[in-house]
Amino acid sequence: MSVRTLPLLFLNLGGEMLYILDQRLRAQNIPGDKARKVLHDIISTMFNRKFMEELFKPQELYSKKALRTVYDRLAHASIMRLNQASMDKLYDLMTMAFKHQVLLCPRPKDVLLVTFNHLDAIKGFIQDSPAILHQVEEIFRQLTEVKCFFLLCLWQTYGGLSAGEFQLIRQTLLTFFQDLHIRVSLFLKDKVQNSNGRFVLPVSGPVPWGTEVPGLIRMFDSKGKEVKKVEFKHGGNYVTAPKEGSFELYGDRVLKLGTNMYSMNRPVETHMSGASKNLAPRTQENIAPNPLAKEELNFLARLMGGMEIKKPSGPEPGFRLNLFTTDEEEEQAALTRPEELSYEVINIQATQDQQRNEELARIMGELEVTDQPRQSASKGDDLLAMMDGL
């Protein structure tokens, strides 16, 4: 599969995470300056230069479990805390949203437009902030710097790719999302998802840029002259694409996929039941002794080693965000989550590889995390403890 997929996966999932957190922060009436601080801290962590460098190295995609650990870290990059049930729900929503976007991309390379939509929205989260102005300016300056670096990386990695290479990236992403059918109320309400968890694939609307509206058969003679033209009934209801989305730094992306669908302040619920039908392959992945744990641990260590968690500037009290409407709902969700959908990382034998643990301890020592809810003996145990505790 393509080794150029991780940056796209990471940024788009991160973008969805920000949309959802933004909506929940407002729904839970978290004070504006605190909410903005959380989003700013997460964004600066996402665009940390060292982290970006690790992200853009050609590498295969790791499992959903491994990636979730990174987002758990990211979500806790600030003064906000999430219980496991809320973190699970957040990750479910993020993955289903991006799965939908990839599936509905008209052309494989349009996943770049989706990425730009997320990036454009992230810019919006920063700009729109009156309270701590000097902090915002500083963040904006840093962000512009790293964003330029990020865009450079993006351009270097994807700028010259062929349609065939984008098709491979698309297939790699779809493999990552295979068999995920969690029903999301917002999607069900908008008729974007069916009650069986499958996404609606419309057969009307504009065709992709560069594709002709289906319905015509043209026949030519040996000199290339058209000798016959016949129409046929295709079955869909397509129209010509009005224009191509822009791949520039600024521009009209045309495509709506990847824009913020939560901005209507609508509640975000997921249904866990009814998603278990096709889970046999995934269950196998969860219970089989995992020979990949070591490799994934390496990956996480490298990736998170590049993540700089910033220290807060003042004695900011933390708060807990709930992805559900009430605490009782959150507790209930934690109890009733189907076994197969658990994101538990396989218990890593911490005693086996002393050297690796020391390496991790060193990396962890460079990370300062505030308001760490877990009482761990030493910093070095944090990573493993966190993973064991998931």
Binding site: L174, Q178, T211, G235, P281
Partner: protein, 334 residues
């Protein structure tokens, strides 16, 4: 008119690959074999005529050095003069089995020597040509294996150069003994088609250039190349000269599979737009040019189709697989 028949359940959903369904028709035994790639495994199912599943087997890609379990790119039955072999291509190499998948008779590891770190290494594109099996690779090279009438003594006899980008599909002339000079066509991610003549040494006859989109699927029928492209077009070319004879705006998304019912000249096209179309190919008696007529269109709602095949030589039934779908959908004409 076609109607939905009973589906065949699969243990694992179909992966989002192209040409992700292979069918082996065994009318003498009243059986049909189906092969679908799930990811790191492929599933073989045998079914009776009404679609009742009789037996199933899972095959895995052979492990090798690497981080994650290797993914399979394609599974395909190759009908040779004296035997039928099942070929499985993956990101590690090529595995060949007896037709029921019970015994692996040959393993060929891919040489990733000159691949850059950003390049994916895999084999993809499988077809039988006489007593040869041809398999495409990520580099564009086509590997030609000489297959004995029985036994595991399979030998890599030739490596064909013609493509510069990853091979997507290979098709061979179904009518053996026909007076066809061109009897194999290969396609790649850039949309380039190469037309070959098979033999102890394969010879490149024609190159049909692409136009910026991949050609995921290709078929060959009586000297006519049928190619499906990433922009939803189906094009028919004269194999010997590369002349374009028919251009169909067939689908609204990338085509993922083409199949042929050679006895009746029917072509099946399936795409990510959820549609499957059946076309009738013919030669105009007056002009001698290839003509195409649309026969039937079927929408598989909310399904990104990834594989489609006729299930009988007269093209009166076909089967479809879709991404994320754990069943093989079947249709037959009424």
């Amino acid at each position: 008119m076609f109607r939905r028949e009973r589906s065949i359940p699969l243990r694992g959903s179909a992966a989002a690959l192209c040409n992700n369904l292979s069918v082996l028709q065994l009318p003498s035994r009243n059986l049909t074999h189906f092969g679908v790639v799930h990811g790191p495994s492929a599933q073989l199912v045998s079914a009776a005529p009404e679609g009742v599943p009789l037996a199933q087997r899972q095959l895995h890609a052979k492990e090798g050095a690497g981080v994650s379990p290797p993914l399979i790119t394609q599974v395909h039955w190759c009908v040779l003069p004296f035997r039928v072999l099942l070929v499985l291509t993956s990101h590690r190499g090529i595995q060949m089995y007896e037709s029921d998948g019970s015994v692996m008779v040959y393993w060929h590891a891919l040489d990733s020597g000159d691949a850059s770190p950003v390049q994916a290494v895999f084999a993809r594109g499988i077809a039988a040509s006489g007593h040869f099996i041809c398999v495409g690779t990520w580099s564009g090279r086509i590997l030609v294996f000489d297959i004995p009438a029985k036994g595991p003594n399979i030998v890599l006899s030739e490596e064909l150069a013609g493509h510069q980008t990853p091979v997507t599909d290979i098709a061979t002339e179904p009518a053996q003994g026909q007076d066809c000079v061109a009897d194999m066509v290969t396609a790649d991610d850039s949309g380039l088609l190469c037309v070959w003549r098979s033999g102890p040494e394969f010879k490149l006859l024609t190159r049909i250039p692409g136009f910026g989109v991949p050609c995921p699927s290709v078929q060959l029928w009586h000297g006519t190349v049928a190619a499906g492209y990433g922009d939803g077009q189906v094009r028919l070319y004269e194999a010997g000269t590369g002349t374009l004879h028919v251009q169909i705006s067939a689908h609204a998304r990338a085509i993922c599979a083409l199949d042929l019912a050679p006895e009746v000249g029917k072509l099946l096209s399936a795409a990510e737009d959820t549609f499957v179309h059946i076309w009738k190919l013919s030669r105009s008696p007056e002009s001698g040019y290839t003509e195409v007529e649309h026969c039937h269109g079927e929408c598989v709602p909310d399904t990104q189709v990834c594989g489609a095949r006729f299930c009988d030589p007269s093209g009166s039934s076909f089967a479809v697989t879709g991404y994320d779908l754990a069943e093989i959908l079947r249709f037959s004409s009424v």
